[in-house]
Amino acid sequence: MQTSMINIEDIRKDFPILKRKVHKDKALVYLDNAATTQKPIQVIDAISNYYLNYNSNIHRAVHELAEEATLAYENTRDKIVKFINAKSREEIIFVRGTTEAINLVAYSWGRQNVNKDDIVVTTEYEHHSNIVPWQLLTKEKDAKLEYVGVDDNGELLLDQLDKYLETGRVKLVAFSQMSNVLGTITDSEEIIRRCKKKGVRVLVDGAQSVPHLKVDLQKLDCDFFAFSAHKMLGPTGVGVLWARKELLEGMVPFNGGGDMIREVHKYETSWNDLPYKFEAGTPNIADVIGFAAAIDYLERIGMDKVREHEMELTKYAIDKMSQIKGIKLYGQMDVVKRGGVISFNLGDIHPHDLATIIDEDGVAIRSGHHCAQVLMERLDVSATSRASFYIYNTKDEIDVFIKSLYRAKELFRL
């Protein structure tokens, strides 16, 4: 089964896990991609290959293994520069994931720049990792945290943003480029334009956008940008913080330790050049190297193709799901304005019960608050079920999923 855009049969061959059976004999239908994606064999092999052939600590030794490992590690940085169209490799900082990236900004930039009565603005559809760090920061600084609301269509209420910006006290606006619950693609360029006009810094959480859309940082024009490798075919334990060089230069270090220093003396220490100033300690070398294989894979397919394929799947899924009586789909229905993440509730079946039931048919979806409890309160639900797609998913799989939803209805006598 394939959409017109990409050859899915070929792609699926690269993902060994898709051949596995769950619950004894059910083919795995993996629709939990917004949580983490599966990995192609190219990524798995890149990691093994590192350990099998040139494992070494990096940057500081002159022996051959160390040189090979250092080159491979830094090579990933160069690939990322191109992939998101950054200006320079000095702006690419490797972290554990989006969460650490945002916390780094809160600690190293936020604690210097956000003061009493200042305002940090976020949105009601943020992931906890783009809320809690700002709660901690504003609490410490006696500053305020404000939320841009979400309308019934899953779109941000930009009037509220304007209202906050007008106070002249906003220091940072932090939002995700794509909601991990509603799938809404944020009108990021418009938000950033409005913030720039007022001289306000902008952090964009790209955890859900980079894996699924072409991201061009020069066009976007934000100040901080964060994403995770594991949501885009890469390994767990790696992510990226991108920030403008001028900002990074002015920021205090986050973690202190090896690699991030220039000279350590007993009572005073100077910092290494960018990006190393923010990479303290032995980094996650193997997985940074593995990440390059993931980027290669996505570039070979082409991000436009990735997007087209997901739009086709999403449209297909929304069409079929809408026909189920008693289902409620959340957010935008226009697939041009949303990504391949569909949150829903089916009658009074609690999402956990639904997920347990359809798991028996091999279908893996996520249920719960999706680390977005503020949005759950806004939607007035305690949880939703969420199906999310990626390049290896097929319409056949969506059919299995839909059939399984009908079985759940039956079990719940709906």
């Binding site: 009074d348 956990h352 019960d353 028996e360 719960g368 608050h369 409890q373 305690s382 949880a383 079990l411």
Partner: protein, 146 residues
């Protein structure tokens, strides 16, 4: 166990028509907890009289398993001797629900109500009865549940 076994008529009935749903004004024990992983919430209220559970109610949001479990637990303990209630085990709850072999994620749903109950008893024992020994024992049981 398969969902057909889990979501039997009786579980769905307790989920949709929970017995003892609500609050007690001025309860002797009021305990609330939530499951940080799934967001399920549960609050239990109890009145203790003459060493017996004189009244018990619960409110909550969550899946069929957690809500049915809470409701069936209230029925189980209503009128029971305080000692008996203190000694309730994980197995007692699962037997009462008729749910066994739940996976590690879903067993937490079944046991949330017992956890809330035990935490409530802990506060009651330590603060009102000043029985720190029993209190500590039950606190340990609660944290060892999952």
């Amino acid at each position: 166990m398969s969902s057909a076994d889990i979501y039997r008529e009786i579980i769905l009935d307790y989920y949709r028509n929970p017995r003892n749903y609500g609050k007690i004004t001025n309860p002797d024990i009021a305990q609330r907890d939530s499951n940080p992983l799934c967001g399920d919430e549960l609050e239990m209220h109890l009145n203790i009289k003459e060493n017996k559970v004189a009244d018990v109610k619960f409110t909550g949001k969550g899946c069929a398993i957690s809500q049915a479990s809470a409701s069936m637990l209230t029925e189980l303990i209503m009128g029971k001797n305080f000692e008996e209630v203190k000694n309730l085990s994980k197995e007692d709850i699962l037997d009462n629900l008729g749910l066994h072999d739940l996976g590690p994620a879903r067993i937490k749903c079944a046991l949330l109500s017992l956890k809330v109950l035990k935490s409530g008893l802990y506060s009651y024992l330590s603060e009102k009865l000043k029985d720190t020994e029993s209190a500590d024992k039950i606190k340990e049981e609660a944290s060892g549940l999952y």
